[in-house]
Symmetry: C2
Subunit: 504 residues, 2 copies
């Protein structure tokens, strides 16, 4: 244990086992843990908490940055340790309990959680559990591969447990920029005016006396589970590149575009990967999570700087970046998710945002979260923060799923996360719908003609025509609006029987 | 004609008749007109345009701040002069054409229109037509009772037609604060940190050579058409006051609350009126439109300052305020709607926002615009700008309409303008649902128990219970989700037959 991992010497006698640290938790507490899209989660204390919860009644409200790795949500769920979960998750076991109504899940815009905490509108954090690279001379906490909500959790919590992860290179110090907005009613503008600017401190400033336990770990983050680009994602990337190139030619964008954001996951990652084949130069990212595609673009040189709240990479990319972090950190910064996702900054910088839709409807409404309108997948995450305030809000999806049994373009989405007002562009492997400045009836033609799979195009056109004859600014036939979803539920396919027969 | 209405002398020879000014319009042009919630619209040129359009093929894209008074939208629609309308309207004749698909209406967040113009993402404004109190020595345009989008329209347009309205007191000069954000990619923070702060100029700075015509008018704004408070709106105001008082007692709000926003219309106006009976003091407003209730609160002294983009009053209040504008303007400021509605400022100041819902569902999704899911009423207006970024986002509605034939609380809204993520509080005359920090199943119980009319409470509870048994984070029965809307469409009431029979 290198002493420079805990530079405030008097804290060193607070080193203890995860089991001892876990004794600080009490039934009913609210616990704020580090971790954002698998990066920088705690590697020991959550498991000791689960162990206690499996032996005695111990349930907490668990708040994080976003999703956790290392099966933490699964292990805690299996131990019945979570009664309430905020603001995002992506674990199959936890998801089952959420959908069964057994865990109360509060699906929140990622920029808003600490705002609600700070204004006391949700229960206060009793204990913050934060993974750290080091503790500074003044007791400041240096995060690891994510910042997420850790800074405000630590600042607002009554007690803090720090996990020092020896697997994390000490050179991560200096990567982070911790800025917390001044409190209302005297809040000042957030002074950030470009993605590469630093406006805060390289550590989380806390009263060291609140650090009640320090636990030493040595374990890597869970690697990203995104899939490699495929034929469809390449086609989506191609359509988007072509569109952006056209915008540059038309003088609406410069060749370095606007700062880019891309959501977590396979499709958004693949779309950014596709920029390796683009004519764009001197790109910058202002995003919430950096994935493999970011590293590829940085290595390629066409991305000059990336700002985010976490780094979530595949095993190989993760090892490459961490082993050369001194070099990469000249062109990277990690911020609290309140800042990476802040409406004020997003609107000011004018981002091009690329987020994944679960389904879109013909008028541009987007469902990012609910399968069949009822069952939670992961959560809205930052997509609302970004899409609402973007210069150009792009949603990407493959046009079909389950070999055609599901169309991602439907008459009416079964759940709305992003309204028609917040969607500029929809892209599938078939093409791109540019919805800017269009009325709903005009949008419908774009979406049906350009984005829908041929399997569903004619039925969708027929729906729209019949609805249009009935009238309305946004024509619909309410008795049929969810017929496709119901058919899928009852028959395993959104396609009508005769179509399915024709397919076989 | 007092010469000090046109202080840049060389512009005086551009005074002409409305008919001559209207000759500048060409078929297919985009015209940006002043006017926001009936206030500060142009009183002569639109009618001359309509006159031309009734005699020759002449159709324009009409952009405004928000809705217009003086039947301008009606007259232009009747003359077939509007092909496309952006971003808000409230005229019955125009609404009919929009719903028939004959006028393309682009329903936009009110803060976004000029952002889109500036980034060339919608067609540029060919001609701006702006009502003014005066033209300054340098050719600056002093608006009248609204700013709306006039500043950016005038700055971005190729030509400007100014209507000098002699009915508007010259003392309006000094009321306005014209600030336009610096352009991307070098945009700076908007320096506004309190509602009463002035950050811009008291006039719209333009190149005087762009002013191609000046028309003299002398006509008042159309008075507001809001209805007086009634039993239900008083009850809504009472529930909200009680809730806010509880927040003060709990230490989550100070006795001066947070700056208030209230949407246009009868219910929001009545709710603010209800604050006359509240224990709150030293209130401030940061809103988009000031209605009669604002003047009452200013006169009462419990409102110390109000910032907005327009003043829309009943005839009596209007005359009182305009005749004493020198006194009132110490405590009033009118800003461009981009600033009054800017996410950056709204989030920073931490507003309590009060907007009217057409219908809400049991999970907190809100429909503000579409009757029966298809037919446009007015538009989303600023409600999305405010609700998304509020400290506390309140939606108000009467629980029933048409003597009970319509329930404003439904299983699933037929159109979503505001998602569950953006609704903190729902209030009807029956009570208040506090949805903060709750999962969907918890929210449903609050909304059903506290806000729903007894006529519909049991059926709604039954829907929720049956849906919950089917499972899901947000339980629904898609085959029944719109059954109430369909029943209303087919039978004239959302109530089932047996219930209706029992009522009679």
């Amino acid at each position: 244990m290198p002493m420079d991992r805990i530079r405030l010497a008097r804290l060193r006698d607070r080193i203890m086992s995860p089991e001892d640290a876990a004794l600080f938790f009490k039934d009913g507490m609210t616990v704020g843990m580090s971790g954002f899209t698998r990066a920088g989660d705690c590697k020991a204390v959550p498991f000791a908490l689960a162990e206690r919860a499996s032996r005695e009644p111990l349930q907490i409200t668990l708040m994080t940055g976003a999703s956790l790795g290392n099966d933490i949500d699964k292990v805690l769920t299996d131990a019945n340790a979570i009664s309430r979960r905020i603001p995002f998750q992506s674990d199959p076991t936890l998801r089952r309990k959420i959908n069964a109504g057994e865990v109360m899940f509060i699906d929140q815009h990622l920029s808003e959680t600490v705002e609600l905490l700070r204004s006391k509108q949700i229960a206060p954090v009793d204990i913050a559990v934060v993974e750290a690279t080091a503790i500074t001379e003044n007791g400041g906490i240096v995060p690891t591969t994510s910042v997420g909500n850790s800074a405000s959790f630590a600042v607002l919590a009554k007690k803090i447990i720090v996990e020092i992860n020896l697997k994390m290179p000490q050179a991560l110090e200096g990567l982070h920029d911790i800025y917390i907005p001044t409190y209302r009613p005297h809040r000042l503008p957030i002074p950030l005016i470009s993605p590469e600017q630093r406006i805060g401190l390289p550590f989380i400033p806390v009263d060291p006396e609140k650090i009640v336990a320090i636990v030493i770990t040595e374990k890597a983050d869970s690697p990203s589970n995104v899939l490699p680009p495929d034929h469809e994602t390449n086609a989506i990337a191609g359509h988007l590149n072509e569109f952006l190139f056209h915008e540059v030619k038309a003088g609406r964008l410069s060749p370095s575009l606007q700062p880019l954001q891309a959501g977590i996951g396979t499709i958004a990652n693949a779309v950014l990967h596709g920029m390796l084949d683009s004519p764009f130069r001197d790109l910058k990212m202002y995003s919430e999570v950096l994935q493999d595609s970011t590293v590829e673009l940085l290595d390629d040189g066409r991305l000059t700087f990336a700002s985010a709240s976490s780094i979530t990479l595949s095993k190989g990319a993760y090892e490459r970046v961490l082993s050369q972090i001194d070099r990469y950190k000249q062109r990277l910064v990690l911020r609290p998710q309140e800042i990476s996702n802040h409406p004020e900054v997003i609107r000011r910088l004018g981002l091009i945002t690329i987020n994944t839709a679960l389904e879109c409807d013909i008028y541009g409404n987007v469902n990012s979260t609910h399968v069949g309108g009822t069952h939670m997948m992961n959560g809205i995450g930052g997509s609302g923060d970004f899409a609402r305030n973007a210069h150009l809000s792009v949603f990407v999806t493959k046009s079909i799923a389950k070999a055609g049994a599901i169309s991602s373009i439907v008459p009416m989405v079964s759940h709305v996360d992003h309204t028609e007002h917040d969607t500029d562009i929809i892209v599938t492997e078939h093409g791109l719908a540019d919805l800017r400045g269009l009325a709903p009836r005009e949008r419908a033609r774009q979406v049906i003609d350009n984005c829908t799979d041929p399997l569903y195009r004619d039925v969708l056109r027929d729906y729209f025509l019949r609805a249009s004859r009935r009238g309305g600014h946004t024509p619909h036939l309410l008795q049929e609006a969810f017929a496709w979803h119901l058919r899928y539920e009852q028959q395993g396919s959104m396609l009508a029987h005769e179509q399915e027969a024709a397919l076989v």
